[in-house]
């Protein structure tokens, strides 16, 4: 049995290491930070962790329906592809910063990219 992406990347420790770096990049980027204005930071961080765990190929209870529901209200605030791409860019930079090998980064980005339509409610 080959080791999974989640194990290779470092499991829960990797999620824990990535979440603050990723979330800080997102909040520091004025192009997207306003989408995160009204949320309880602890709760938001919990959601980021769940998302990273999913993107890292780890345990998750991802459902496209939940993802759609969670982002539906952001449509009125103008959530669009460029914002999705900016956040995805921060994820990629986070992984580079943590020196994750590029073949693993590619796999993570592919999983993250697969949520595009659900996040944007397309």
């Amino acid at each position: 049995m080959g080791s999974s992406l989640y194990d290779e990347i470092g499991g829960t420790a990797a999620v824990e290491a990535a979440v603050d770096i990723f979330y800080r990049k997102v909040l520091s980027d004025t192009a997207v930070s306003h989408f995160f204005d009204d949320v309880d930071m602890e709760r938001q961080r919990g959601k980021q962790k769940a998302f990273l765990s999913m993107a890292f190929g780890g345990p998750n209870n991802y459902s496209g329906v939940d993802m759609r529901k969670a982002h539906a209200h952001l449509k009125d605030k103008g959530l669009a592809s460029r914002h999705f791409n900016a956040v995805a860019g921060h994820l990629q930079d986070t992984l580079k910063e943590l020196k994750v090998p590029s073949n693993l980064i590619d796999q993570v980005m592919a999983i993250a990219g697969s949520t595009h339509d659900d996040v944007l409610n397309i």
Binding site: Y23, R24, L27, S28, M41, E42, R45
Partner: protein, 329 residues
């Protein structure tokens, strides 16, 4: 649509409501305060059905195992059978031992619980008056240093519980307390970590507990405490904290006045503004933020963006929903 039963009566439930909202709409006089999952005043028991995890966040394990959850955070998906909390599980009697006035508006209470409590300095407890009104107050005492529980109570205009604590109680009287709750406290380990503490008003009380706990545990890192108030008399422990900063060379105290002109030794600034100006880089710092919700929430974000890890940021917003038509000051 989930079907809710409270104490034998069926509740009408509208989509999107919390269980607490359904109870209040149904005319049930259940206790509550913050409505945001912090104060635990509305704790209630679910005896049948599944409550989502979000509604159990912060509830003590021993209580959660008995079905306790927070109706204010619960958007039910399952049919639930609910019971009000039973007093004996949540509240215990405590006797007022000492009562001092620290300023015009703040009184200091020392209380002895009938049963010894296991708590951390900086956690909070719920105090209940004879009318059933419940409010949360932070613990300023440190278990290993102090015999009694210490609270600082700010008198609110029209505040039912705070006025009762100020005026309606004497030494020797017995009140009901529950708790402790909350995770804004000092943990030993990492004794070299520097600590930033920012509090407004009686947000000072948990910070005082944390500072005394840390110093008496031999904390080696720096502790910077910023206490903010609109007026000088609001810095109600100025003398004591100044003295403490003379006793410990790793403890620094910054008294901040936000609205009126002021002079040395007070700083003319909001406490959080001065804190972030003084400490632009908080990487590896431990941060405690207590007091007015806008300050705490803004400062939480600023501390995080200044490099502190979320796990190292302890925020305790003193949230209190308006229960009356008259506005507080």
């Amino acid at each position: 649509m989930p079907h809710l039963i409270f104490s034998g009566s069926t509740l009408s439930y509208n989509k999107g409501q919390t269980v607490l909202e359904a109870l209040l709409d149904g005319g049930f006089d259940v206790p509550y305060s913050c409505k945001e999952g912090n104060c635990q005043t509305c704790l209630m028991r679910c005896v049948e059905g599944e409550v989502e995890e979000d509604a159990k966040r912060g509830v003590k394990d021993t209580l959660s195992k008995q079905g306790y959850f927070l109706p204010c955070m619960c958007h039910p998906t399952d049919n639930l059978v609910l019971q009000p909390s039973t007093d004996t599980e949540l509240f215990c009697a405590a006797t007022i031992r000492v009562k001092n006035l620290l300023s015009d508006k703040v009184c200091q209470l020392f209380i002895e619980p009938a049963i010894p409590l296991y708590y951390h300095a900086g956690q909070f407890m719920n105090l209940r008056n004879d009318q059933g009104g419940v409010r949360s107050y932070s613990l300023a005492s440190v278990p290993k240093l102090d015999t009694y529980l210490e609270f600082h109570v700010a008198r609110m205009r029209n505040g039912e519980v705070s006025n009762w604590l100020h005026n309606g109680l004497d030494v020797g009287d017995v009140i009901d307390v529950s708790g402790p709750f909350g995770n804004c406290f000092y943990l030993p380990g990492k004794p070299d970590q520097d600590m930033l503490l920012v509090g407004t008003g009686t947000g000072l009380s948990p910070l005082l507990g944390v500072v005394r706990d840390a110093l008496s545990s031999g904390h080696k890192g720096k502790l910077l405490l910023f206490h903010g108030s609109r007026k000088e008399e609001g810095l109600y422990l100025h003398k004591e904290l100044t003295e403490l900063s003379r006793l410990y060379n790793n403890f620094y105290y910054y008294p901040c006045i936000s609205t009126e002109r002021t002079s040395y030794p007070y700083k003319a600034s909001r406490a959080d503004d001065l804190a972030f100006k003084t400490l632009p880089d908080l990487k590896d710092w431990r941060v405690f933020l207590c007091g007015s919700p806008p300050m705490v929430e803004g400062a939480q974000r600023k501390a995080f963006l200044a490099g502190a890890n979320m796990n190292d940021i302890h925020a305790d917003p003193f949230k209190m929903r308006e229960l009356r038509s008259e506005k507080r000051d």
